[in-house]
């Protein structure tokens, strides 16, 4: 496509493929943090929609309480603890980056990744146990909701693990240390979602 140049236009270097980094923050909030909060706002609506739908159905179907009793409450409780701990180590990673201790930060992030991995292993164990008992995703609407909601959450955990590992690799090279905070905010969100899912799906089991 040939494009004309306007008269008096200064000579411009050929367009470089490199994207421009955001030059400034007009508000005092760093652009990355602002972006991650808006991203989380959209996530809140996705999970919020699902949780609302589930609660409305749950009120209509008191008999689901008996089904919920078949979930593995102890495994869920352990997982809650595991996920909360992983959030703690993310906070420590952020704190270490702020203090300029990148080695400690990368160590703490590895601990978060480990905890996230443990969470997924326990969740996989639960799924196996439930499916073997016949509680498959199509065994009834309660189980459809259970698998859809925890499954979507597990995908977010998995995505978080990949994101933390990517940020960690960059931080080890000394690049983009501010992203530890952003990936941390996301990780806490994943944690908070679980705090809603655990009581709704596991504990509210007596109808």
């Amino acid at each position: 496509m040939s494009t004309p140049t306007s008269p008096g236009r200064p000579a411009v270097p050929a367009s470089s493929p490199a994207p421009y980094a955001a030059p400034r923050a007009a508000t005092s909030v760093p652009t990355g943090r602002l972006g991650i909060w808006w991203f989380l706002a959209s996530e809140v609506v996705i999970f919020g929609g699902l949780v609302t739908i589930y609660v409305l159905f749950r009120l209509r179907h008191p008999e689901w309480g008996k089904l919920a009793a078949h979930t593995m409450t102890v495994a869920g409780a352990v997982n809650t603890l595991v996920l909360l701990t992983s959030s703690l180590t993310m906070v420590l990673a952020h704190e270490s980056v702020e203090r300029g201790n990148l080695r400690l930060a990368s160590q703490a992030m590895l601990q978060s990744v480990f905890a996230g991995g443990v969470f997924l292993v326990i969740k996989a164990f639960e799924y196996t146990h439930e499916i073997v008992q016949g509680f498959t995703p199509v065994a009834g609407l309660f189980w459809s909701f259970y698998f859809a909601m925890t499954g979507l959450h597990a995908l977010h955990v998995l995505g978080g693990l990949v994101a933390i590992l990517a940020v960690r690799r960059a931080v080890q090279r000394g690049e983009n240390p501010h992203r530890v905070e952003y990936v941390g905010i996301y990780w806490h969100f994943v944690d908070v979602v679980w705090i809603f899912l655990f009581p709704l799906l596991y504990l509210a089991s007596r109808g």
């Binding site: 494009t3 140049t5 306007s6 411009v12 050929a14 367009s15 994207p19 030059p23 602002l34 979507l152």
Partner: protein, 564 residues
């Protein structure tokens, strides 16, 4: 996008997978235009069938039953998700926001690129659904279960699967885009630019993106649930399994109605930019328009059930939803009155962008006023699912999606491609479009009030409705004329790229920052990031030689002015 000659070959890959907001804007633009012709042709197929019931449409045979339903479905889907969204938000949002706030690119250029290519993938999935056995989805663009949830009911398996997948991908693409728009406009503003110095179109793009972001999530979840119902055998929407088909209607319209404002607001924003420039007057009621936008956005979340007055919702819900629906016309009317007041005693120049901006207001007025009829539950029960509704939402959506888009294209084409478009062809395009939109859709109000139902492929079946053949033929002539009226646009659009008059940086003598950048702007937009000294609508300011006063021009030193 401009290049030095020698860099041309090396940069092919980076030109296709570009992170430059202007390239991405053009990618959205061309995809959207191509899809607009697909959507227009689908409309013409329907019209030909309706005006000649029982007889074959040339080349396609008799378009009836599933075939007709698929045509209706794909027309609606394509026009809303693959034309309106990429043109208004994808093209103009991407092109204008960084330029107008005075920055070099979007806040997250790579995310922006990912957004377009996700959209492109969704386009491929949608178009490929025309090629699968059974053809594209015939379940309506609203995809209500149980018709959409149980493949046996619609007689279509893969078309609907792909439709759901494509729509979900498209929504995710614009979610990524929206996060970028909001963050960019909030945080990348040039030094000195306060939020109240933002051009209104940027305000409207932010508002539209926020509305989209807060309404789309449940539908993304709902679409996945629908896909699971169809493929895995879950029963979210199946009453036999304890599910509820009404649930999908709620999820769909909780997104679907705010979506109307997602499309309307950027359209109004484009008009708001054009009116002051071609009236040489400041916009009237800047703050009122901004607040009206905010109120419209908030109200748009509590009107959705007016689509469900006859769906079996609790009748006690009908009154509050009628109320909010009628209420939302107030802030929109405030905006339109501000626009009219902007024209009052202005030095109006009837250039093509202005013609389309005025046309937008005129046509949208009819769409808005008839919306009040649909909004009150009592009237809606009579006109629900008739051609009255079809006429109403075309009058409501064609103005922002096409009139505003055309206005914006004629106005910003010099900035996008560096050359002016031809005025004569532009006027011809406007006259044809304005005339044939009304020829197409005015008869539908009459047909609708007489009770003619939508989504029916053979009007002659309803003997009781009497002979509406004349109006059907008139509407078909209208769509054909509308399609042909786009020929001058195409000639103008592609011809002006080579032959148009070189535009220069600021051909319209406008104030906003994009006119400071060269036409077309290079990668990075500005040689130096500008500083902003005033709001964008300082036209015909007293005591100045020029009747425009760009945002980036520093006021003459207070001292020297006093001395003079």
């Amino acid at each position: 996008m401009s290049h030095d000659g020698h860099a041309e070959a090396a940069g092919l890959w980076s030109r296709i997978f570009s992170t430059d907001h202007k390239v991405i804007a053009k990618q959205y633009l061309f995809t959207g235009i191509a899809m607009a012709f697909l959507g227009g042709i689908l409309a013409q197929i329907m019209r030909l069938q309706l005006s000649n019931p029982g007889h074959p449409v040339p080349g396609l045979g008799v378009v009836q039953g599933i075939k007709y339903n698929a045509t209706v479905t794909m027309h609606g889907t394509v026009m809303i998700f693959w034309v309106a969204m990429p043109l208004l938000l994808g093209a103009f949002g991407n092109f204008l926001i960084p330029l107008m706030v005075g920055t070099r690119d979007m806040a997250f250029p790579r995310l922006n690129m990912l957004s377009y290519w996700t959209f492109f993938l969704s386009t491929v999935v949608l178009v490929s659904s025309f090629l699968v056995p059974g053809g594209p989805s015939p379940v309506g663009w609203t995809a209500y279960p149980p018709l959409s949830a149980i493949p046996a009911y619609s007689g279509n398996t893969w078309g609907v699967h792909l439709w759901i997948l494509a729509v979900a991908l498209e929504l995710v693409a614009f979610l990524m885009g929206g996060i970028n728009y909001i963050t960019t406009a909030i945080n990348l503003r040039a030094p000195g630019m306060r939020m109240r110095d933002l051009p209104l179109v940027v305000w409207m793009q932010i508002a539209a993106s926020i509305i989209f972001l807060f309404s789309v999530g449940p539908l993304v979840a709902g679409a996945v649930m629908l896909l699971l119902d169809r493929t895995a055998g879950t029963g979210f929407y199946n009453p036999a399994a304890g599910g509820d088909p009404l649930l999908f209607q709620h999820l769909f319209w909780f997104f679907g109605h705010p979506e109307v404002y997602v499309l309307l607001l950027p359209g109004l924003g484009i008009v708001a930019e054009i009116l002051p420039v071609f009236s040489r007057k400041p916009i009237f009621g800047y703050r009122m328009i901004v607040w009206s936008t905010v109120v419209t956005g908030l109200l748009s979340f509590v009107v959705w059930a007016h689509h469900q007055f006859v769906s079996g919702i609790d009748p006690r819900l009908a009154a509050p939803f009628s109320l909010t629906t009628i209420l939302i016309s107030v802030p929109v009317a405030v905006t339109l009155f501000c626009f009219m007041a902007t024209l009052y005693r202005g030095s109006i120049e009837f250039k093509t962008p202005m013609l389309f901006a005025l046309g937008m207001m005129a046509v949208f007025l009819i769409g808005g006023v008839t919306g009040i009829l649909n909004g009150s539950a009592a009237a809606d029960i009579y006109i629900h699912d008739t051609y009255f509704v079809v006429a109403h939402f075309h009058y409501a959506l064609i103005p922002p999606v096409f009139f505003s888009f055309f206005a914006g294209i004629y106005y910003w084409y010099p900035k996008m491609f560096g050359r002016m478009m031809n005025e004569t062809l532009g006027r011809l395009h406007f006259l044809g479009t304005f005339l044939f939109v009304n020829v197409t859709f005015l008869p539908m109000f009459v047909m609708g009030l007489r009770g003619y139902p939508r989504r029916v492929y053979d009007p002659s079946q309803f003997v009781a409705l009497g002979n509406m053949g004349g109006m059907q033929i008139l509407a078909t002539i209208g769509t054909a004329g509308l399609l042909f009226s786009q020929v001058p646009l195409l000639i103008n659009f592609f011809g002006s790229m080579k032959r148009g008059r070189v535009a220069g940086a600021n051909p319209w003598r406008a104030n906003t920052l994009e006119w400071l950048a060269p036409s077309p702007p290079q990668h990075g937009n500005f040689d130096e990031i500008p500083s902003v000294y005033r709001w964008p609508y300082e036209y015909s300011a007293p005591g100045r030689d020029n009747d425009w006063y760009p945002q980036h021009v520093a006021p003459e030193g207070a001292l020297s002015r006093k001395a003079g």
